[in-house]
C-alpha cells in the first residue's frame, strides 16, 4: 500500500465514520432542541406533581368526596377552572364531564382501587391514574365539541367498558346553562 496513490482503507473508514458521527450528533442535538422548545415555549409538561393521597379514604373525607367531583363553576384566582374526577373499576365519576371552551382547565384525577388511564381523545390530555397519587393535568379546549375519554390502562375484566365523555361548551353557553350551581357535570 505504501507506494499506492490510494489512501489506506483504515484512513478512508476513519474519515467516513467521523463525518457520520458529526451528522448523528447533529440529529440528536436537533431532537433535544425540539423537546426543550416545545416543553418550555408551549409549557407542554406531562403531569408531574408527585402529590399523594390516601386511596382508602377517598369516599369518606377530603377533596375527592362525591359532592366535590365534577366541574367547579367558580374560577380560581388565575382564571382557571378545576375539574375533579375519580377513576375506579369500571367507570369515571362523573362519566360525562362538561367544561367551557377557551378557559384554562385543571383536571385533578385519582383512583381508589387500581391503576387507570385518563385520556381525552383528540387532545394532549393524557395521564396515568395511580392509586395513592393525584394526577394533575392542565389543558385548554379551543373548540366546542365532544371528546371520548377512555380509560387507557388495563384495570381488570371490565376495562373495555370504562369510557366517559367530555362535552366542551362555548363559554357563554356554559355560563348561561349553569347559573347558580357550584359543581356541574352533564347530569348537572
Amino acid at each position: 500500500m505504501a507506494d499506492s496513490p490510494q489512501k489506506p482503507a483504515t484512513e478512508v473508514v476513519d474519515t467516513a465514520e467521523r463525518g457520520w458521527a458529526y451528522a448523528v450528533g447533529g440529529v440528536v442535538a436537533i431532537v433535544f432542541a425540539v423537546i426543550v422548545y416545545s416543553g418550555l415555549h408551549w409549557a407542554a409538561q406531562p403531569p408531574s406533581n408527585v402529590e399523594t393521597i390516601d386511596a382508602t379514604q377517598l369516599h369518606v373525607a377530603g377533596e375527592f368526596v362525591e359532592a366535590n367531583l365534577g366541574t367547579e363553576t367558580r374560577p380560581q384566582p388565575d382564571g382557571s377552572i378545576i375539574v375533579r374526577v375519580i377513576a375506579q373499576q369500571y367507570s369515571f365519576v362523573p362519566s360525562c364531564i362538561v367544561v367551557p371552551a377557551d378557559t384554562p382547565i385543571t383536571f385533578r384525577v385519582t383512583s381508589p382501587d387500581v391503576i387507570h388511564g385518563f385520556l381525552i381523545a383528540g387532545t394532549n390530555v393524557n395521564s396515568m391514574v395511580v392509586p395513592g397519587f393525584v394526577s394533575e393535568v392542565r389543558a385548554q379546549f379551543d373548540q366546542p365539541g365532544e371528546h371520548l375519554m377512555p380509560c387507557h390502562e388495563y384495570c381488570s375484566v371490565g376495562h373495555a367498558g370504562m369510557w366517559a365523555v367530555v362535552k366542551v361548551l362555548s363559554r357563554s353557553e356554559f355560563n348561561s346553562a349553569y347559573i347558580g350551581e357550584e359543581r356541574v357535570s352533564c347530569a348537572r
Binding site: I35, A44, P46, S48, V50, V114, A121, G132, A160
Partner: protein, 540 residues
Amino acid sequence: MHGSSRLILAHFWAAFAVFAVAIPLGVWQMWVRSPLHEWLPNPELYYRAVTAHGTTFAYVFPTLIAMGFGYVACVVSLGRPLHGVRLAWLAYWLVIAGAALALATVAAGDATVLYTFYPPLSGSPNYYLGILIAVVGSWIWVGLMISHFLRWKRDYPGLPVPLAMFATTAGALLWSWTSLGVGAEIIFMILPNAYGWTDTVDPGLARVLFSWTLHAIVYFWLIPAYIAFYTLLPQAAGGRLYSDKMGRVSFLLLLIFSMPIGVHHLYADPQIGAGFKFLHAVFTGMVAVPTLLTIFTICASLEIAGRLRGGRGLLGWVAALPWDRPMVLASAMSLVMLGLGGASGLINMSYALNSTIHNTQWVTGHFHLIYAGAVVIMYFAIAYEFWPHLTGRPLVSLKLVRLQLWTWCIGMLATTLPWHYVGLLGEPRRMAYFDFTNPLMAPQAFWDSMSAISGLILLFSAALLLYILIASHRTPAGVMDTPRLSLAVEPPRSLPRSLNSFGIWILLVAALTIANYGFPIAQFLFVKNSSVPAYSVEAP
C-alpha cells in the same frame, strides 16, 4: 457445531414452540375486537390471551433465542467447544419450567394481570414465581457468557475478543443488570403481597422498578439482531464488515445508554417529577446514537458487497446484492421496519409529544414494528442461517423461505401502521372490544379491520416458518460447510482495553443507574400514603 448442536437446537425449538402457541393468540385478539367479530361474551378471555401473548414474547421467546444464539456466537467465534454444558442445560430447564408454570397459571385464568403486572392488580403467586424462575435460569446463561469471555481472554492475552463474543457478552451484561428491576419488584413487592405476607403494595414504586427493566429489555431482544447485522450479514452478502471497531462502540453504547432511560415509560405518571422525566428524555435521545452508527456501518458493508459483485454507480450496488439469500433479504426488511419504528419511537420519547399518543394503540404499533418486525425477522434469518449447520441438513426450499420473510414483513407493516393511525385518533390499547357504532369511534373501524385481516397474513407466515424448520429437519443429511462469521475490512490486530473489556463500562452503567434511578426510587422512603391494598384477579 463443536458438540453443542443439541443444546442450541433445544433452545431454538423451545422458542419456536412457544411462538407457535402465542402468535395465534395475538391474531385472535385482533380479530375478536375488530368490527369483523361480535363482542366477546366474556372479555376476561381476551385479557387472558393478552397476558399469555405478552408473557411469552417478553420473557420466554426472546430469552430462549438470545441464549441459543449466545451459545452459537461462543462456539463459532471462539472456535472451541462450550464449557459448563451441564449448567447450560440447567439454565435451559429452569427457563422451560418457569415458563410452563407461569403460562399454565395464566391459562387457568388465575393471573389475568397482563405481562406488565401493574400492582395493585394481583394474580396467583405461581405466575410471578414462574417468571422469576425463568429469569433466574437466564442469569445462569449470563454467567456462562461472562465465563467464556474471560476464559478466552486469559488463554489469548492481548488479542481482540471476536466481535460476536464481545457483543454477546455486552447483551448478557445488559440483561443481568436490567432484569434486576423486575426481579426486585417480584421478590420484594409482588410475591410477598401475593402470598398474603403484606397487606398493601406501592403501585408507584412498582412502576418505577418495572421501568428499570422495561426499556433495556427491548435492547436485550435487539442485540441478537444487531450481532447478525455485524457478523453474519456482510459475509452472507459476499462482502466485508466495514468497521469492527464501530461495532464494538455501538454495543458498548447500547449497554451504557439503554438502561438509565426507563422513566420515559412513565412520562404520564404522577409519581415522578418533571426533572427526572426530562433527564431520562435526554438519555433516551442518546440511545439513538448506536442505532444510527449501526445503520451507517451496515449500509457501508453492503455497499462493499454490492460493488464486489459488480454494482456500479451511486445506487447500482443495491441491485447487485444477492437478494435471494435470506440473511440479506431479512436484513433489508428489518432496516425498513427499524426506520419506521424508530421514527414513531422518536415521538414516544419526546417529553411533550408523548402526551398525544401515550398508552394508545400507537404504542402497541411502535413496539410491534420494532420487536415483532425488525427484531423477530432477524431471529428467523438467524434460524435459517444456522439450521443447516445445526441439523446437518440443507434448508428444504429457499423459495419458501423468501415467501415466509415477505409475508412476515408485509403482514407486520399492514398490521402496525393502521395501529399507529388509530392511536393518533385516540384509540386506547388493551381493550377487549370497541363500540364502533359510536360516531366518534366509527373512523377507526376500517383500520382495525385492516389490522385484523393482516393478522391472517402473519398467521400464514408463522405456519410457513414452522413448516420450513420442521421439513428441513427431516431432509436427508448432507455435508455442511463450517459456519463462518464476517471478516472486517481491517480486522483488528490489537485493541485498546476500553474496546476489549467491560470493567470500566460496568462502573459507568452503575454510576448512571444511581444518578438516574437513585432519587426516583429513594423518594418512596419519604412519600406518605402511597401504598394501597391489592386487588385480586384470581378466579373464585
